[in-house]
């Protein structure tokens, strides 16, 4: 704090003396330009996408959200319902698996693992985020797909077949493979953010709890979780944003089908995946516009998710200034 104050005082002092520093001015200009470029890019994208979507918004209106047909052939009828459904099922499904998994990873790395193991394992988990999505998608088809179709799905069907989610014929393409691929993609983000949060829990609180005779689990439940709760929620929302926006890997494994059904084994499609697979070379102007409409929906959702995450983080930061 004090060093910042002295710096500010020095800067004010320099300004008073009126000494002109070209380097400072250039730096100021450069950084300002960078910041403005980022902001204006966001607005340009939003404007361009909305502009392209206008004909479809005009044609289909809000009815677009409830129409589940997507017919780029003779009928030229477009609707987002099937993709909204697919996006919701895959991203929530992925979050349900990745959430507990990531929190477990983060807990292990901060509280339970021997010290020598923490660094390497943490780095490896984060490295998972560096694998390009197209590679994960290809791996999904060639390696994970057959395992899912031959072992995982038949097992789920045998055991939980009475639940409609696990009915239907096992296949390497479908909602479940998409959920698994997304799980792999969001686990690194959620776990590394959670790890930072857990590391931020003050040591004295944890040791105090242990000194009162709690077990390690009771300490985690009673001290670590309440302390990091809102931060974890923000991390999950970040993960959800990533899952909703992921296109390429999902396209490769989800089976590009326009349908709403309760079986996780059957193919479906998401907003992002549909945009990625059908924007290029769409044969009618109406289809291009309908795809832009999908993009508008996706953009709105991503903005909302980010804002929500920031609101939660801010609340969290306000309550626990130590952790930040």
């Amino acid at each position: 704090m004090s060093s910042i104050a002295t710096q500010a005082a020095r800067a004010a002092d320099l300004r008073r003396r009126g000494r002109f520093r070209p380097g400072d001015v250039a730096l100021h200009g450069l950084t300002l330009a960078a910041a403005l470029a980022a902001v204006s890019l966001l607005f340009l994208i939003a404007w361009k996408v909305t502009d392209q979507a206008l004909p479809a918004i005009h044609d289909f209106g809000l009815h677009f959200l409830t129409t589940k047909t997507w017919d780029p052939g003779t009928r030229q009828v477009f609707g987002a319902a099937a993709f909204l459904f697919g996006t919701a099922v895959t991203s929530i499904g992925a979050l349900l698996i990745a959430g507990p998994l990531s929190i477990a990873i983060a807990l292990f790395l901060t509280e339970l693992a021997p010290r020598w193991l923490r660094g390497p394992v943490g780095a490896l988990v984060e490295m998972l985020a560096a694998v390009p999505s197209v590679v994960i998608g290809l791996w999904g088809i060639l390696v994970m797909g057959p395992v899912v179709a031959d072992h995982v799905e038949p097992f789920l069907k045998r055991t939980f077949g009475f639940v409609p989610l696990f009915g239907g014929d096992p296949s390497i393409f479908g909602l479940l493979p998409a959920i698994l691929v997304l799980t792999i993609m969001i686990t690194p983000i959620v776990s590394s953010v959670s790890r930072e949060l857990f590391l931020g829990v003050p040591r004295d609180l944890k040791e105090g709890a242990l000194a009162l005779g709690t077990t390690r689990w009771e300490m985690i439940r009673g001290v670590v979780f309440p302390y990091a709760r809102s931060g974890i929620a923000a991390a999950l929302i970040l993960g959800l944003g990533r899952a909703v926006g992921e296109a390429i890997a999902v396209t490769q494994v989800i089976g590009g089908n326009v349908a709403i059904h309760w079986s996780l084994f059957k193919p479906g499609d998401t907003l992002a995946s549909r945009i990625a697979s059908q924007y290029q070379g769409a044969s009618s102007a109406k289809q291009v516009s309908a795809i832009a409409y999908l993009a508008v929906i996706l953009l709105c959702f991503s903005l909302l998710a980010n804002v929500a995450a920031q609101v939660i983080v801010r609340r969290f930061a306000g309550r626990h200034p130590v952790a930040r």
Binding site: P72, G73, G281
Partner: protein, 345 residues
């Protein structure tokens, strides 16, 4: 002070090195050819374009096989000198492209690969059965309708999984064009297009996605261009044509189908799927297709483009047969040369 001087000297050296490098590359390219032509699009025609790249000397040809849809997008935004598509441009695409012409420049076929483990022989299919498989009406390989075409094959009790392209694709156009010609139900329910409202099956992106889906799914059946199927050793079906003969996607079958073209309409759009019953077409492979190059009528590299495409249409065709591309018929060549003249700077 010395530090500043040293870094200044370093800068000068760097700048000189950079200048030398730039000069070096420009020298290299001028000595090799008169210019570079950039293209993108159809992966279907990519093996043939690769041959052209190797054998055409007047310009340096760069080709990016990103798919027909991508090729149309690239030429529409003029980020390339030519686009390539297996599907003819739609009306909306023509108007978006603002002064583009499409020229048929190669001719090949779409194969129907399948994955039936342990099948004792080649699968035989016809248009009606393929249409009903993709409509979701025939769902098992031991269906009596599949059996009727495959006497002597022991077809297993196995669910059929039809696989289609989830991205916009010229191969899908060729395939749906064929099914629309062969099945009234397909025509009214689904229609022709680079993509469709697929009634059954699973979608996979690009040829490699379809190939992977078929080879990884027991009971899978799909469609990919024949060059791709051969290169990747996919087993593909024999298809019954309208004359009742069994045809494979080979040179003879494609050539026979191409005999269907008597004249070229002003749009340049050619369809040679499902030729009628006639002695002339008795060997025809019914899922054959032309593939197109899309050129801007006004471009600064007009003369190089004209020269290259003319060469591809004439001399370039000799590299086709090895890759199962049939040299384009005379009537199409005459048309293509005429349209090529519209490309001006």
């Amino acid at each position: 002070m010395t530090k500043v001087k040293r870094s200044g000297a370093l800068l000068v050296v760097l700048a000189l090195a950079l200048a030398a490098a730039v000069a070096g590359t420009s020298n290299a390219s001028t000595s090799r050819s008169s210019g570079t032509l950039k293209g993108a699009g159809s992966s279907f025609v990519a093996p043939l374009v690769a041959q052209w790249q190797a054998n055409y000397k007047s310009s340096d040809i760069q080709y990016n096989p990103i798919g027909s849809g991508g090729g149309i997008a690239a030429i529409t935004s003029r980020t390339v000198d030519f686009g390539a598509s297996d599907a003819p441009l739609s009306r909306d695409q023509f108007s978006a492209c603002k002064g583009c012409v499409q020229i048929p420049w190669a001719l090949s076929a779409t194969s129907i690969p399948y994955n039936i483990p342990g099948l004792n022989g080649r699968l035989h299919l016809n248009a009606g059965v393929i249409a009903d498989i993709y409509l979701g009406k025939i769902t098992n390989w031991n269906s009596s309708r599949v059996k009727a075409l495959n006497k002597g094959l022991s077809l297993p009790d196995l669910k059929i999984t039809p696989v289609y392209r989830s991205d916009n694709s010229g191969t899908s156009y060729n395939f749906t064009d064929y099914l629309s010609h062969a099945s009234a139900e397909w025509k009214s329910k689904v229609g022709i297009g680079v993509n469709a409202n697929w009634p059954a099956g699973i979608g996979a992106p690009k040829s490699n996605g379809v190939a992977a889906a078929v080879s990884q799914t027991k009971g899978g059946v799909g469609y990919v261009d024949v060059a791709y199927a051969l290169k990747n050793h996919l087993q593909f079906a024999a298809i019954q044509n309208k004359s009742g003969k069994w045809a494979l996607p080979g040179l003879r079958g494609i050539k026979s189908a191409a005999a269907l073209i008597k004249s070229v309409p002003s749009s340049g759009e050619l369809s040679i799927v499902n030729p009628p019953k006639a002695a002339k077409y008795k060997n025809a492979y019914p899922i054959s297709t032309f593939t197109y190059v899309i050129l801007p009528t006004k471009t600064s590299s007009a003369s190089e483009l004209r020269q290259f495409v003319f060469w591809a249409l004439t001399n370039g065709q000799q590299y086709g047969p090895k890759l199962l591309f049939v040299p384009i018929p005379k009537v199409v060549l005459v048309y293509s040369e005429k349209i090529l003249k519209k490309v001006q700077s």
